[in-house]
Subunit: 213 residues, 2 copies
């Protein structure tokens, strides 16, 4: 059985896909751009498979490596085909017209909105929204494993994602219930606004957020 | 002239006071516990002065090193005595009855609420809310300067605080307007919930949040 399905074929799909293969998980890449999905699958490993976005995902864990609007469409489109699966929402629902707020209302989150849209039996987990693609592919930052914050209302699903993250060479931080996605998405807005800030010319979409002791 | 006044005499007053002295700033400690203020002043340095909380602060920069409710009281009590000053709000308005949300409404922040309460001419700056007292006193984490996130609607006030932070051996990250305090306070709620989490037995109110490249 395929362990992980990634829907999307962009930089975040590449970053998480790289880590999935490193973790020894079998991997499927689905994308509306089937040629790009096939090319990414071939790049990631000979056993990685690919297909269209409306295929029933083979993985127990399904990563929505697409923007928030597309994640909503996929959760709606796939509906009950996601039942019983752990669906990872990596999105940051930034209002790109202002780059000053989120498109979800204060007091909620993309993850909670996706959970409300999803069919019964689908478990949404927030993860990987504070990790940029480049550092993910690199695995470590300043010699330390990358931190991956995880929020879920299901302890079992959070543990499954944490196990994947750990096996991938990263540090899982299970932060609490799905509503902690509010804080994760909010803070990543702040972090994203810094990336092109001339005061931090080394940042350039390449930073990693780390809890150090 | 005294450069910095800290109102409060607890652990955060000690941490920020330690850095203020290290930065070569003159320092005044005000507290309703005048004996504690005097003891902390003596501990921090021979030239550090102290006094009661209703004294007119001598510093151009006034740090409210007290919980959110007390910060509201101080801003109200001092009123126009703070006009022309840069007032640093370090608070995290946690709802400690649930440890699951903030006491300020979604879509606002303690910093913005304090700015609304303050007399005309008072400039509120959010800073030091993501730094715990122990790491502050230590100055560095994992060999790197501590990150201090700063949010303000005044470029001049943000620059004054950034200059203090830099001189204190820390890295200022000027993150944008005062409303960025929403994201800073929200994320620190998440970070605080991890501190006593048995899954992270090294955390123990001693972590530092760092943006690494």
């Amino acid at each position: 059985m395929t362990d992980i399905t990634i829907i999307g074929s962009g930089n975040m799909a590449r970053g998480i896909g790289t880590r999935a293969v490193a973790a020894g998980r079998s991997l499927q890449i689905l994308s509306r751009d089937e040629a790009k999905a096939a090319a990414l699958a071939a790049e990631l490993g000979a056993s990685v498979t690919s297909g269209p976005p409306d295929a029933v995902p083979a993985g127990n864990i399904v990563v929505l490596a697409v923007p928030y609007d597309a994640a909503r469409e996929i959760v709606t489109l796939l509906g009950a085909a996601l039942a019983g699966k752990t669906v990872i929402d990596i999105t940051n629902p930034i209002d790109f017209s202002t780059f000053d707020s989120l498109v979800v209302a204060p007091g909620t989150s993309a993850a909670e909105e996706l959970a409300a849209l999803a069919a019964p039996g689908v478990t949404i987990v927030k993860a990987f929204n504070t990790t940029f693609a480049g550092p993910l592919a690199a695995e470590t930052v300043a010699g330390e494993p990358l931190d991956v914050f995880i929020a879920s209302d299901s302890d079992e699903a959070a543990a499954a994602v944490a196990s994947f993250v750990q096996d991938a060479g990263l540090r899982p931080i299970v932060a609490g219930p799905l509503r902690r996605a509010r804080e994760l998405e909010g803070f990543q807005l702040l972090i994203m606004t810094l990336q092109a800030n001339p005061a931090f010319d080394t940042f350039n979409w390449n930073t990693s957020l780390k809890v150090l002791v």
